[in-house]
Amino acid sequence: MSEKIFNIDDLQNINVEGEKYIILQIGPSHPGSGHMRIKVWLDGDIIVKVDPDIGFVHRTSEWLSERREWIKAIPIVERIMLPDTVHANLAYVLTVEKLLSIEPPPRAQYLRSLVAEINRITSHLYGIGIFGIFLGSSTVYMWAFGDREPFIDLMEMLTGARITTSYIIPGGVRWDMPNGFKERAETVLQYMERRLKDYEDIWVKNPVVQARTINVGVLKKEDAISLGVVGPNLRASGVYYDTRKHQPYAAYPNLDFEIPTMKNGDSYDRLLIRVEEIKQSIRMIRQILKDLPEGKIVADQIYNQLNPVMKKNYEEKKRVMFPAFMIHMRPPPGEATAKVEAGRGEIFFYIKSTGDKYPYRFRWVTPSFRNLPFFTHVAVGHRLADLPTIYGSIDYFPPEADR
């Protein structure tokens, strides 16, 4: 429906001085901005320039983590990515494990993948819901946030916490799968499959949604690659790339799943890809529940550090209490990196250790931060009403980008 009025290349270097343009300060306290100010230059109704002013919710996660014991960084990184806590946790732990040279047992790997996929579904539902309210559909917003609940309950059953689980520790996971979890998970998955049909009826196939999103915010394949876009947004532009396939971690090498990709790279495709990924996650959770291997949930290095009381607790309750080793952990000097495919894209971790009880350098790049440049790129030339469409479709989470 909406064809671009200007050529993007002409507008990249446009001079926005003078009184010709309306300058709109959208946010940081605006229903359509999130915790970020978006400065928009408008020529009539057409967007000439977009300047997202990031940093409003900067929480110094790197600084904090460099001044604490290694284990204490887990809650910090989790709180940066609230809809997507498990992946932040997992990425950090993978990096530390590389420094420590610990390999978790297969059961722990599967449990990690399980909780990560549950978390991916909640993260995508969160994104779909926010996209819904940005387009004006309170129904999808309420539905998506309501349908997150069964999955969050599953996470609570498995890990003991709803959102900030801190479930994954160096060497394994904290809790084993409780009795009755498989049946409960199967119920939830069947419920979600039923609900996905409802979402298609009222949201994905809604003529108004299609009119608003198709051909809006088109990101071409080459642009997606050169702008460094990650995650579902990259795959919506037709690039077949997923860290779970290309640099597999946890139990993903053993799982059979597909990476859905789209062709056009418009806002509608970015919506569809999230629905498709939810379906793939459901498929993966079923496989994990079927193939879950028996065995320990922590590596032997950690298990041997447990004292008799902790071992008794582990045998009875299947829960790992933290041995003193965890607090006084001093990874050998060196550098390590890890990549994890989170709900919104790829998390990259770099940590340098000097053998001290604190990390020497703690650096991580979150997917939202890497998806932001393309928002400023594609919004130019569209109408003001398309700004929330594009912004909602990239599933941007300001605290995650600000770190």
Partner: protein, 341 residues
């Protein structure tokens, strides 16, 4: 006192009762409160929520809107420094007033005639309804806020695009009924067929224009919260805000009354020739209001289904599909008048 005819006093009292109680202000207030409650309840039902609940829990939170109204009444009035004070204060009130005054010329029964009997009630009511959006634009201009101003511009664009189809759809009904008066329009429907069967195209156009003018979804464009915070009423607070939020519902009520009079047969199935306030006004009025209420309920249900269109899409469809439909409806009316009668 003997020089004032007793009939004049009765006439005045009757008029006042019409204006204040039924179908006037009290009815409007009750209906607006009920429809807002119903809108929230329907949306909540679809969205797996309870909706308004805690105020008057036994009747499902029905008094929530009244509580909101009370809250608005006691809030602090904040007027921005750079706002045009006079326009800022007057515009919402005038908006509400004109939306309400239009009701004088919408008869709900054969006995109804407020102030003076007129054979041009359709024209008068349309004229008053069309005035309302001008004050909406004034609101946006007076606030001195970019979001309000963009909202006002959007309102202006949409107003122009949907006014013509609206008037044409009414014109096509005027052609069929050969009258400018609601009462005789209803009488001719009682004698023949309801207007929605005579000219379904006009009814469709009228419904679309109703959705647009009262800002229901998917035409909730002037108040788009993710783009314009609250559109026109971004800077408003207290009772001014409450009045501004209630005006679209009063307009919705007006339009629904007009729709039920022109298309749903008015007070059909009642066909009364007794001319007294109870049988000539109250009973048929009740039928009309119930029909209008059903129309309103259907329109507010759209909130649960549709997101909103973009401004250019709405304007484009206003000047293309809807205008085409309305022209076709006029042609249909002319054809019917030429061949059926």
């Amino acid at each position: 006192m003997s020089f004032i005819p007793i009939s004049l006093i009765i006439w005045l009292i009757e008029d006042l009762l019409y204006l204040i109680i039924f179908p006037g202000l009290v009815t409007i207030l009750v209906l607006v409160i009920v429809i807002i409650w119903l809108e929230r309840k329907i949306a909540a039902k679809v969205q797996m929520r309870f909706g308004p609940l805690w105020v008057s829990k036994k009747i499902g939170g029905a008094l929530q809107s009244l509580a909101d109204l009370l809250r608005y009444s006691f809030q602090e009035v904040i007027i921005p420094e750079k706002a045009d004070r006079l326009a800022f204060i007057l515009a919402p009130g005038l908006m509400f007033a004109f939306a309400t005054i239009a009701l004088i010329f919408i008869p709900v029964g054969p006995y109804y005639s407020v102030l003076f009997p007129s054979y041009y009630t359709i024209l008068f009511s349309l004229a008053l309804i069309i005035i309302t959006p001008i004050f909406a634009i004034t609101v946006g201009w007076a606030s001195d806020n970019k979001f309000s101003f963009i909202g006002a511009l959007r309102e202006g664009f949409l107003l122009i695009s949907y006014e013509v189809p609206f008037l044409l759809s009414v014109v096509s009904m005027i052609i069929i009924f050969r009258t400018y008066d609601y009462i005789s329009a209803v009488q001719s429907q009682l004698n023949f067929l309801p207007g929605i069967i005579l000219n379904p195209l006009a009814a469709l156009v009228m419904l679309i224009v109703m959705i647009r003018t009262t800002g229901r979804f998917p035409f909730d464009i002037t108040e788009a919260d993710s783009e314009l915070v609250l559109g026109l009423f971004t800077e408003y607070s207290a009772l001014f805000f409450g009045v501004g939020m209630a005006t679209p519902y009063v307009e919705l009520y007006n339009f629904s009354l007009i729709f039920s009079l022109l298309f749903l047969g008015g007070w059909w199935p009642l066909n009364i020739n007794v001319m007294n306030p109870v049988y000539g006004l109250f009973l048929p009025g009740l039928v009309v209001v119930i029909k209008a209420f059903i129309v309103m309920a259907i329109l507010v249900f759209l909130r649960a289904v549709y997101p909103r269109y973009r401004l250019d899409q709405a304007v484009r469809s206003g000047w293309s599909y809807v205008l085409l439909l309305s022209i076709l409806s006029v042609i249909l009316s002319v054809v019917e008048v030429m061949f059926l009668r």
